[in-house]
């Protein structure tokens, strides 16, 4: 079964073609970073305009890379349940037009559920139940994944998502947008023990997160050092900041796995591309018997392959949409 996936929730226009839920034939991602860079964040109206400008071209490129034609498609899956409304509308309209023209099923899916499936797509040995940390610029969740479509959210962020804090700190330090990759890169040259930022809510007996405090601590520290004319290396500062965020994510996730007696951890979403996060998970898990899974880098940020993969399972479960399908900015999973 060949499914075309569409993902336009935020600032990436992505179209992917996946066979039988596990073989990625193409996964094209048109990134809009240049459009939004000058604003230091996503401008929803500009994002939606960009999606519409490129949508046909991205669809064509995905088909071409998969060496397929429209007539080869068996279904179309689209994220209609989480993201910027104006952006989602473009992808959903396109999905309906394809579904109608080819008379093939339309499968609505949830963006965050898509991220959960990015690791299921990538790792055949990842089984149920497992614990999933899904963390990006828009969300920060700890989910017990008991079976297909059987989720229990056990932790959420009380304020900013980790990816959002990376962006905000990067913007404050004038490092560019998006913040995650640049902070990851600079941190490699810095001393992460140079400054200490409190790991938030680490002692609390729950799995919720709170990251806005770290952001404030970083800005205060910089302001103080500037005031006192104390010289500092940006590399040390961002490495120390990154360490605080990453350690919080890692420790909370591992203790959740232990509490629920699970020996598989799946880490997904844009922040799962962070190299320090990957290293620290492996370091802390050591010989604990708990295995950690990360998706390949092209499946960490928003992508349509995970949407098409999830669509495959939803189709098996007969969860189909109609031509009057609507969009939701923040549906629960």
């Amino acid at each position: 079964m060949i499914i075309l996936g569409i993902e336009t929730s935020c600032d990436d226009t992505s179209i992917s073609i996946v066979k039988n839920g596990n073989e990625v034939l193409s996964n094209v991602i048109w990134n809009q970073n240049k459009t939004h860079e000058v604003y230091g964040g996503i401008v929803p109206e500009l994002g939606a305009r960009r999606h519409l400008q490129v949508i046909n071209l991205v669809i064509k490129e995905a088909l071409q890379k998969a060496n397929l034609d429209f007539k080869d498609l068996d279904a179309v899956a689209v994220n209609n349940q989480k993201g910027l409304i104006r952006s989602l509308l473009v992808g959903v309209s396109a999905a309906k037009a394809i579904s109608y023209s080819l008379n093939i099923p339309l499968i609505p899916v949830h963006h965050i559920e898509g991220h959960v499936y990015s690791n299921i797509l990538d790792h055949a040995d990842l089984s149920f139940p497992h614990i999933c940390l899904t963390v990006s610029g828009g969300h920060n969740l700890l989910i017990l994944v008991n079976d297909h479509f059987k989720y229990e959210i056990i932790g959420n962020t009380l304020d900013d998502a980790a990816g959002e804090v990376f962006d905000k700190v990067a913007r404050f330090l004038d490092l560019g947008f998006p913040g995650g990759p640049v902070i990851d890169k600079l941190s490699k040259e810095g001393d992460s023990k140079k400054y200490h930022f409190t790991r938030p809510m680490m002692i609390e007996d729950n799995f919720d997160f709170s990251f806005s405090g770290i952001k404030t601590a970083v800005t205060r520290k910089v302001e103080k050092m500037n005031q006192e004319e104390e010289e500092f290396k940006t590399e040390d500062l961002v490495a120390s900041f990154q360490e605080a965020v990453v350690e919080t994510l890692v420790e909370k996730t591992i203790s959740a796995a232990k509490k629920h007696n699970l020996n598989q951890i799946s880490v997904v979403g844009g922040v799962s591309a962070n190299s320090r996060l990957r290293d620290l998970f492996r370091e802390r898990l050591g010989k604990s018997g708990i295995k950690v899974y990360f998706p390949s880098l092209s499946l960490t940020t928003d992508n349509a392959a995970m949407i098409a993969c999830l669509g495959f399972y939803k189709y098996q479960n007969h969860e189909l949409g109609k031509l009057d399908l609507e969009v939701y900015s923040n549906q629960g999973i």
Binding site: R49, L52, L89, V92, A94, K96, A97, Y100, S101
Partner: protein, 206 residues
């Protein structure tokens, strides 16, 4: 008008009014709705409905035409993303119709004003306008009525009213005969906004 042509015309430029008109060799089928922000819910079902009523397959159409604006950005985008993909998959030609072009054609300048502007309501007290001096020198932009009068003190404003479906169909046929087709993959709405989206007064093109 009786032409041997089959096409669909859609209008999503008003945030709260979805219109699909289907023309089949002189016969007209239509489906419209005044549902608030109803485009995403209604547009594709309306296209499907009118085609079924007319007993046509989408691939049998000669072309699709769409109102390109100015109007609701989101409404236009839902229209365009649907139509661009329909045209691409079914290999159909695309024709764009501009609301100002329709006003010029069908309202023109009834009282012979020297300096006038066609207005279409935008958001927050703003209007999309097409300004004209002596029926020449056209300028399109977006501004509040206050700002517009400040800039052009002798202006007469003519408000847009929705036209009957025949006007949209007639204009589509004309453009089809004159081969005024748009590039499907690169087409986008006539937004009227340039540079900083937040600035109050702007001129898109003259």
């Amino acid at each position: 008008m009786k032409e041997k042509l089959k096409f669909i015309t859609i209008d999503t430029s008003d945030e709260n009014f979805t219109a699909v008109y289907l023309y089949k060799d002189g016969e007209i089928f239509e489906k419209t709705s005044h549902l608030e922000r109803g485009h995403i819910k209604n547009l594709m079902p309306f296209i499907s409905y009118t085609l079924e009523e007319a007993g046509l397959k989408i691939s049998e159409l000669d072309f699709i035409s769409i109102v390109e604006g100015p109007g609701s950005w989101t409404g236009l985008r839902i229209g365009f993303s649907t139509i661009k993909v329909l045209c691409m998959v079914n290999n159909l030609k695309l024709i764009l119709i501009n609301n100002f072009e329709l006003m010029q054609k069908y309202f023109n300048n009834p009282e012979n004003f020297t300096e006038y502007a066609f207005l279409i309501k935008s958001s927050n007290k703003n209007y999309y306008f097409r300004y004209s001096l002596k029926g020449e020198e056209f300028v399109d932009g977006i501004a509040s009525e206050e700002n517009l009068i400040q800039k052009y003190p002798n202006i007469h404003c003519i408000n847009f009213e929705k036209l009957e479906r025949e006007k949209y169909l007639e204009t589509s046929v004309e453009k089809f005969k004159n081969k005024k087709f748009s590039d499907v993959d690169n087409s986008e709405p006539y937004y009227i906004s340039v540079g900083d989206l937040k600035s109050n007064f702007k001129q898109a093109k003259s």
